[in-house]
Subunit: 208 residues, 2 copies
């Protein structure tokens, strides 16, 4: 096996190390975050550093890089308190990646994603996204170790294409055609291996 310890990791070429470390989590959630500032200028940004924090209340955590340069999404959320999360369809991954360019204008207009507005939500959704979430800011925490910012948000509204919602509340991500990402630049579709029964000692978990 290829291996590196902490000293060797620190001595790696910076681009090599960035690629490697960003790939270590494995497959990651992939979301387009829609925001707007108080003047109504919209922004759309791709996020993979997202973590489920709890189901009741429904909470999600999103990590932002240090707030030392202009970060439109974060500033818009701090200004308005709301944002949307929109899953990326596998046929829209190139367009989604393109939102990460340094656009002067809104990434919606620039990359061709259509804005969608829903009652009571002061942030734009991505039209045709199979899973759309409206979220409200709970709090932000700056992590002392590297000054990244953990934003904690509450999921206020959920929109799911009917074909992907099972009777037990779980989502069929394959049917919804949702993409996942690894590292900084590789996108993937998923293929279900199976669902498994609640695990108990003494009996190998059965497929559901």
């Amino acid at each position: 096996m290829w291996q590196a310890d902490a000293v060797q990791l620190a001595q790696l070429d910076p681009a090599f190390r960035r690629n490697l470390i960003n790939c270590l989590p494995g497959y990651k959630p992939l979301h387009l975050m829609g925001t707007q500032n108080a003047a109504g200028v919209t922004n759309l940004a791709l996020f993979s550093q997202l973590i489920h924090l709890g189901a009741d209340p429904p909470l999600v955590g999103i990590l932002f890089r240090p707030h030392t340069v202009k970060r439109d999404s974060l500033e818009n959320i701090l200004e308005t308190g709301v944002f949307t999360l929109n899953h990326v369809r596998t046929d829209a991954y190139v367009q989604a990646h393109w939102t990460s360019a340094s656009w002067e204008e809104s990434e919606f207009a620039a990359t061709g994603f259509a804005e969608e507005y829903k009652a009571g939500v002061q942030a734009p959704f991505v039209q045709d996204s199979p899973v759309q979430l409206a979220c409200s800011l709970v709090e932000t925490q700056t992590l002392a170790i590297n000054k990244t910012i953990l934003l904690i948000a509450r999921i206020e509204q959920v929109f799911v294409e009917e074909k992907g919602l099972r009777e037990d509340g779980s989502l069929d991500l394959n049917a919804l055609g949702i993409a996942t990402v690894s590292g900084l630049d590789e996108y993937h579709s998923g293929q279900s291996l199976g669902r498994l029964a609640y695990a108990k000692p003494g009996k190998i978990p059965a497929k559901l």
Copy 2:
């Protein structure tokens, strides 16, 4: 589209809501965490609430449910300061799921994963895992909103099967045969859609 607002989410059947909210992130990282207590008793537990926190220094965050009941992995880490993260091969996902049962004995022996030890790491790795990480505890934070615990750790050693490491440091997760998870019980393989060039305005990102 199916939809629910915060009030409707709160009124859903608890099992339905748990399935739904846990599926909302999409595809999630999947890791087996190896620990041992000071007496050398080992533990192996499945985690999907894991987030990349930074590449330099290499940091990862892992969320634990509230520490109101016995949590072997967390207690072992607080005791020893170290743990391992091991990616799950697609052909081992049933066995990996089985580690989540309430075993009296070590999940290694119970579910048939072989322990592997490496120089300088006081925690067991999962033998034959294609990506193995040795991590050290940096700190834990209890999130006020729901009492979950965010554990921040530093990646101290990286072991990767050579076939999955590209020249630029990125990992070929498909070649490594790594699994991902959605919700509480569904496992998936990944299929690459492509890698994309650094995004710039005015030019649709090219495939690498």
